[in-house]
């Protein structure tokens, strides 16, 4: 059986926040939007419907837990959820906090402009808040 290995580009563009039953939950290194990604730890999967039904349910519950936590922590106007994978084919689900007037609002965030890095202290305190809310 093939082992799971996180895609290099995802690994590079994000940092670990939590490991859930199915997924690695990671924060994108882009302070323009509070932006998390869930990557199911299953090798060779690029579409959600390729997961087993049980894994589909786990992914749904974990995505929704992360989405609700992100809304609580940020007070977002709207949570955006998406699984595109046109560039990186390893299955990953984006969960993004959106606010009226944020970069490219009300359009999508993918492919828009260039990532703006967090200051380390800001990133660390945001991750701490997320972990705290996710563990409740």
């Amino acid at each position: 059986m093939q082992d799971f290995a996180l895609d290099d580009r995802l690994a590079n563009d994000s940092v670990s926040v939590a490991v859930t039953g199915l997924c690695d939950v990671r924060l994108m290194k882009d302070r323009r939007w509070p932006w998390l990604v869930l990557i199911p730890r299953r090798p060779g999967i690029s579409e959600i419907f390729e997961l087993t039904p049980l894994d589909q349910v786990l992914l749904t519950f974990e995505t929704n837990k992360v989405g609700a936590a992100l809304k609580t922590v940020t007070g977002a106007t709207k949570i955006n959820i998406g699984a595109l994978g046109n560039i990186v084919r390893q299955l990953h689900v984006h969960v993004i906090a959106r606010f009226e007037g944020d970069a490219n609002w009300p359009g999508p965030i993918w492919g828009y402009g260039k990532a703006e890095p967090y200051a380390d202290a800001d990133m660390n305190s945001f991750i701490a808040k997320l972990r705290d809310t996710l563990s409740q």
Copy 2:
């Protein structure tokens, strides 16, 4: 209890393909991409995590059934799935068939350019194929 009513903009921009256990499944009137939308028939919901756990599971299975059918019918390179709702707040999940070189590939489709209507015959035959595949 509030009744469910389909958002006017969604109703206007799409035509009915099927009614599943939870959702209205509709085809967007835009031939640039094979593009379906699932709308859970629940009033007052704008985030997936506001649905009951059972409805979340139904939505997942129905979305994945639609995604797999769309891949079968179109031979798409990649299925894109998204729930944004920055403009239309009634919860709706997009399922889009993407191909290398299609409009805005590999970027997202939302907010890109203007819808191009189908010829009636093309739309009807596409809907017939989708219904046939969804019923298998």
